[in-house]
Symmetry: C2
Subunit: 388 residues, 2 copies
């Protein structure tokens, strides 16, 4: 590891692309004949492949969880605070896999990929993906690495929903499930915010019904608006007050339509940066996957029934100021797990950082996370441990 | 009153336009040389003009508070639930004035009006209005009607901010001030939502830097997005759950990008309706007036100092599920009034209707409102009462 990286960093990491030739049937009724997943791994898989942790990403996340792609990269992967030597997901103990989900825009097969039937990018013709579809693709990824059973499947937000779905769909294939800042399904308000974002994107004249790759434009305004709006829902009212208050950019109000307040220019900056870095079709697809996630729906809308066959232990974590997926929503998951007589721990962490708190190394959060992952480590079967 | 209107309706009402020739200096440093206000009145002004109630409107409101413009009109004015014979603002007792604020798009001078200097609509060149500017224009409206002192100034949301500003700017000219579902100033989160709405409007290609009247287009998409977003902030999470839940439009998910959930089509409908009915420049102006409202700013950011000279009695009402201007924000107003030793009543009303609750005739709210307005009536000086 270069001197310039912190001691607890995984250092320089290199993604790899794995190709799958077995067709993947999807919830929407279509299938992907073949597909690629881009992944990163950290740590070393032990001999019986019993120390593997799968980390699932949220709406705009990807496979780059931790470390740096080069010495020039200024920011590490998105969950670097939680993954590395001595960190909660300790890479001295665990073999960690991050992937970009199908439908993503960071290297896995998605709307930007070439549709073999047409020779052009899929664009809007890429099939809608669901959380169960992703879990199925991740199960095949586990097979590829020879991992019969994950030590843990971990995720925050939409990533936590994937972790929960794993416990339902493949009860034999994980020992622990960590569901952080998630919800058992979206509320009407959550869906409403997603719909505003989708309308912003699809009504952008540069969206061109999703076929914008051909003409070289991207629906920047739509993506910018979607991200600005998303950003508001990731922060808390208190957190924004603390971060921005009503601070004026120029010290005093100038009574015009230019941005006056720090929060305005911050959001514009975030929105504009995102608008050239993310794919609009992927954004639409990810929000739909969120809207459609509802594992209880197939069990008479009874979440306890949905998790009845789960075999793993659960850790659920929520954050007090998260109003996107509030602690109340996490408690719905906990209550269902308790009703189904599962082993579940629950922590509600004090934080002003809203939904974003799951990405921020709040000491109490990191302590809880580390303590639980030590339990996950202690559940690695002895043969695996010796080999580690 | 036609048979078809309810007994407690003010019935058919006709707006009037009042022209003011005295220039109005504005906070932004510019002035309006002359201007018009469109108003509606209900009830009868008594001989000493002591029974007048001014009702100030919120972001998208107007002068049409109550009753119907014709027998064909299916919906009454926006606060018909609170204004009429026997209703909280009882038109058997009070003379009620509603106006469209300057900068509005319902008949008062605003961005759609002809700029006398150019012979074209003002458009984006219409000056930015502030809450104190509106209060000044409303004081001249009081003069026009010979009203020296309002029995009460009443408003919800941005309207409540105007009521508060009245108590500060014209302490002699009102006996009662009713501040409903308001806040002493916007939070960073409030400003952030406004900024997303403004970006949606101003980046709409049909906005044409605000000069869209000339080419006959309107920035429909931008206004639609602004309204959809606004609508989410007017409703509560619980209220949306109750109203829409996760009800599917077609009974089952169809895995495409069409609206699947009732809440999506509801928001689209609301947004599209608004996009052809409201003026984009007015929307921008109203959101800026909200952002800039901060009466404490001139008093060392001490709201108690700002209200120190107020002479009226105050009624502050908030609603439990209002997260746009939460009860906490109303309590900031109450605390400042208490600190300044003002006479203040406060009610926090249980409601699932979020910010919109101030428009909805919840029985407990109406009871509190009526009881307070009876006190306002009892404070009408005896001569005025005899004349009524």
């Amino acid at each position: 590891m270069p001197q310039s990286f912190p001691q607890d960093s995984v250092g320089i990491v290199t993604p790899q692309i794995i190709r799958f030739e077995q067709p993947l049937p999807l919830a929407c009724g279509r299938q992907l004949d073949s597909y690629e997943l881009i992944v990163e791994t950290y740590g070393t898989l032990n001999a019986d492949a019993s120390n593997a942790v799968l980390v699932c990403h949220a709406l705009s996340g990807n496979h780059h969880l931790a470390g740096f792609h080069s010495e020039q990269e200024s920011k590490p992967g998105w969950w670097d605070s939680a993954i590395g030597p001595g960190k909660p997901i300790d890479t001295n103990t665990f073999f960690v896999i991050g992937l970009n989900n199908l439908g993503g825009c960071h290297g896995s097969t998605g709307p930007q990929s070439i549709n073999p039937e047409t020779g052009k990018p899929f664009g809007p013709d890429f099939p809608i993906m669901t959380v169960p579809d992703w879990v199925e693709s991740q199960a095949r990824l586990a097979d590829h690495f020879g991992i019969q059973q994950w030590a843990a499947v971990v995720g925050g937000s939409l990533g936590g929903m994937q972790a929960l779905q794993w416990a339902i769909d493949y009860p034999q294939r994980l020992r622990h499930c960590l569901i952080i800042a998630a919800a058992p399904r979206l509320s009407a308000q959550n869906i409403a915010f997603n719909e505003v974002a989708r309308q912003a994107i699809t009504r952008d004249p540069d969206f061109n019904n999703g076929h914008f790759y051909e003409n070289g434009n991207v629906p920047k305004t739509g993506l910018m608006l979607a991200r600005m709006l998303g950003h508001i829902t990731y922060l808390s009212d208190d957190g924004m007050r603390e971060k921005f208050g009503r601070e004026l950019r120029e010290g005093k109000i100038s009574y015009d339509f230019n941005p006056q307040f720090e929060v305005e220019s911050y959001l514009r900056y975030q929105g504009e940066r995102f608008s050239t870095a993310f794919d609009a079709n992927t954004y639409l697809l990810m929000t739909k996957a969120l809207d459609y996630f509802d594992p209880a729906a197939d069990y008479g809308h009874n979440l306890a029934e949905a998790v009845r066959n789960a075999l793993c232990k659960f850790m659920v974590i929520s954050f007090t100021s998260d109003w996107r997926f509030s602690p109340e929503r996490s408690r719905e998951i906990v209550d269902a797990l308790v009703a189904a007589e599962k082993k579940v721990s629950y922590a509600e962490v004090d934080s002003d950082h809203g939904h974003d708190a799951f990405l921020i190394p709040n000491p109490r959060y990191m302590d809880i996370y580390s303590a639980y992952m030590k339990q996950v480590a202690s559940d690695i079967p002895p043969t695996g441990k010796e080999n580690n």
